[in-house]
Amino acid sequence: MSLMSLTALELGKKIQAKEVSAVEAAKEALGQIKKLDGSLNCFVTVEEDSVLKKAEEVQKKIDAGELAGPLAGVPAAVKDNICTEGVRTTCSSRMLENFVPTYTAEAVKNLEQAGVVVLGKSNMDEFAMGSTTETSYFGPTRNPWDTEHVPGGSSGGSCAAVAAEECSFALGSDTGGSIRQPSSFCGVTGLKPTYGTVSRYGLIAYGSSLDQIGPIGKDAADCAAVLEAVASHDPKDSTSMKRDSYDFLSALDEDVRGLRIGIPKDYFGDGLDEEVKSHILEAAKVLESRGAVLEEFDLSLVEYAIPAYYVIASAEASSNLARFDGVKYGYRTSEYEGLHNMYKKSRSEGFGPEVKRRIMLGSFVLSSGYYDAYYLKALKTKALIKQAFDRAFEKYDVILGPAAPTTAPKLGESLSDPLKMYLGDIYTVSVNLAGLPGITVPCGTDGKRLPIGMQLIGDCFQERKILRAAHAYEQTRAYTHCPLAAEQV
């Protein structure tokens, strides 16, 4: 049996019990990467030599009793927009192809303190802008369930790597669904925490008011353990929240009897694939059979979430990406006339089409004469969307729905029509606008054997409730290994 077919917590337990070493686990992960990543392209960078050295150091600390946590010695992938000192961090962009950060993101530091062995940096849509991982400068990642299909995005490399068992778990980032949607497409579990729970220090910014780092694993328990490791109050991130509790694992012991689950009717209307719909509703019934109380309701304003999101995210992106000018780091064009021409040419050659599209839109909605009509209007819409969720959470503990309207599309089908691709974010973006936690849990496959994910949304700081519901649901079904990974077992 492959060590990589275990959950992160199962592997961590074996490592603590000295049944296997951190080095053996790292070697097995590297072996799986060697075998599969040539075709899947989950990783942008893997530093084999330093990985084994790191694993040896971790094992020494485990032997000395200095590292006794549940994730010590477990190998993981980190999305390539999260800075790692001395290891290049590209955002899957030509702009940062050779960028080597001088510091490590707080979330990764927290992982390292827990004894996690970082294998490398996972592929993504360029600057996290996209829903398929096809906008990566380093080529698309392929879905391990069917390599003709996309893994989703933008954290497609992270989710595909977990599904293909090239790592035990991964970190992703979620601005409008970038953890939850690819988790759905790849048949893994991904959690976007409440805004401010995981430090954004060292996360290369896309939409700062929406961005959150979160865990991707085989099940809810792994997500809870990883969240417990990475979440912290960080004075270096002024939007970091000091939470009352960082205890997530113990939520899994509780049952769902009496848990009030709201099912928004507006999440099950036009545009939702029939097979996805029936699997989600079946999953809801499973939770009901375990004692949860289901009720349908009207969330309202769902159709306004995407336009508001794209205005706000693009506006913030245009501002955040202004720093890439070819001076202090990043790509610089080879021929130019004067400073301004160098800025323009460096940016035009360094960024791909989707990034440029969003910078242009963002610059437009923030420009004088349009600011009130677009940007302020979107911020007011965001306030109303937040109120709609506040009302819903007066009645329900958890909101249950799909993570995406369909299963994974084929490669090459999405980029030709950006608006259509954006519409695929309909069930995920409002969660970012309202700062809420959301988790995607696999709940079966469609007729093409592509995974379907159920999304559970909680009120701010209520990760425990969605983890509990996800865990309760998982107790009724075993984790399904993707065929490609199952062959290796």
């Binding site: 960028f99 080597v100 001088t102 805004y195 401010g196 004075p235 002024s238 939007t239 929240m241 304003l301 306004y304 995407i306 336009p307 508001a308 794209y310 205005v311 245009s318 000018d325 070819g326 001076v327 202090k328 780091y329 990043g330 790509y331 610089r332 130019y336 004067g338 400073l339 021409n341 160098m342 800025y343 323009k344 040419k345 940016r347 035009s348 089409p353 440029k356 599209r357 910078i359 242009m360 839109l361 963002g362 610059s363 437009f364 923030l366 420009s367 677009y374 302020l376 209007k377 979107a378 911020l379 007011k380 819409t381 965001k382 306030a383 109303l384 937040k386 608006l419 309202a434 700062g435």
Partner: protein, 97 residues
């Protein structure tokens, strides 16, 4: 209502965005932006009279900390990422004549 973006506006947005698009790219960008704005105009069907714009979810304001230097001198490491450097400084094209 279909949005029409003039060439002048595209030119202006290009200046703000510091992007230089080829003619073909600019035509495509114009089309994409018009399509997105048509879609975004849906927001106008929502009554937001008297609603305060919400930039942040949580009411946190002015988070201060002491300005203490925590990192070591990373001069060389930082300059190693520069596309061009000279004498311990970032090298840029001449900015004044």
């Amino acid at each position: 209502m279909a949005n029409m973006i003039s060439d002048e506006t595209m030119e202006y947005v290009g200046i703000l965005a510091k992007l230089e698009l080829s003619d073909e790219e600019r035509e495509q960008a114009k089309k994409d932006m018009e399509q997105m704005l048509d879609y975004i105009d849906m927001l106008n069907t929502l009554n937001t009279d008297g609603v305060e714009p919400m930039s942040h979810i949580f009411p946190i304001h002015n988070v201060f900390r002491e300005d203490v230097v925590e990192n070591d001198d990373e001069h060389e490491k930082i300059l190693a990422n520069a596309p061009a450097a000279k004498d311990g400084a970032f090298k840029v094209p001449k900015t004044v004549e």
